[in-house]
Symmetry: C2
Subunit: 187 residues, 2 copies
């Protein structure tokens, strides 16, 4: 120790749950130790785009939405799955408009992140949307009821500091936005 | 708009994938619109504890580990599932010792976070471990090969800034640690 970590070898892969909204595969893998694991499950989760919208006066546009696995209403930045054949930026603009009714000019890509890289394939690409502007009503479906709020960074950090569960994306995305804004001269 | 978002009603729940390492349930729910959704899948994921270890001279102890769903070696803070009947702090100390060989005195709870609150039940509790000290060899199993590294906050932010996937926990946990350290007088 320390030594270089080695990747696992994928031996085979079969579907374990063939559901459109929740496909799971079962992999047989060979560990670096030589041991074979025959039941390593991976959820083939969707590619997500997340947008951090900031208005001209420096307020963040956030969404309060019901999240069923936690059975709680949580505050988060607008996000959703990329449609088939859709470019990431295009998906980000669509989700921003659908969930908040806001549009923006330039989008800045802040990075690609895995929510749970052990057992989920999905990636979340995070974009910053400066000068976000209201542009009509949100147009979400009935699984995505959204209450749109404007919050300062300090208000969001205070919310995160309350000892109840938040989505891990909330501090991650806010910190990424603040790092970008601090390191980049603003127009 | 804006209006108060309403929770969904759980009508019934049945197992969809009965696997010890990946239990998935299928819920029938009633949306606030009155529409019934009969196939809302939820992965009943484990409760995770994550530790942000900082040495006396301000270096972060991080782990490089292979993450199979992404098929990549990623840098992250030590973490793992809480054992049955184990207190969160106890689990955090155990994971710290097992994955890095470090121990610490006081742990500070920085919050509870959901990696994916739509479709995963799991919560990640994040602890800060100041004055982390080497205390023997790591003792992980062969699914958790770990290369332990010491990095400054600036080095971790630089790594995050590289446009390859990272775990979303990395910027989240680092930002939470920095906020705590900046707002709390250090002993």
């Amino acid at each position: 120790m320390p030594y270089q970590v080695k990747p696992w070898k994928l031996i085979s892969s079969v579907p374990a749950l063939e559901e459109k909204w929740f496909p799971v595969r079962k992999d047989t893998v060979e560990l670096p130790s030589g041991r074979i694991v025959e039941d390593y499950f991976v959820w083939e989760a969707p590619h997500i785009v997340k947008v951090i919208p900031i208005t001209k006066d420096g307020k963040f546009v956030v969404c309060r939405q019901y999240r069923h696995a936690l059975a709680k209403i949580l505050t988060q930045f607008p996000a959703g799955a990329v449609d088939k054949g859709e470019a990431l930026e295009q998906g980000a603009r669509r989700e921003l408009q659908e969930e908040t009714g806001y549009t923006c000019n330039e989008l800045v890509h802040l990075g690609s992140f895995a929510p749970y890289a052990t057992k989920m394939t999905g990636i979340t690409d995070i974009f910053l949307a400066q000068n976000a502007t209201p542009n009509g009503e949100p147009q979400y479906d009935d699984q995505e009821e959204t209450e749109v709020c404007l919050m300062t960074a300090a208000e969001i950090w205070k919310l995160i500091g309350q000892k109840e569960p938040h989505m891990i994306d909330l501090p991650a995305a806010l910190a990424l936005a603040e790092h970008y804004l601090q390191s980049t001269p603003q127009k």
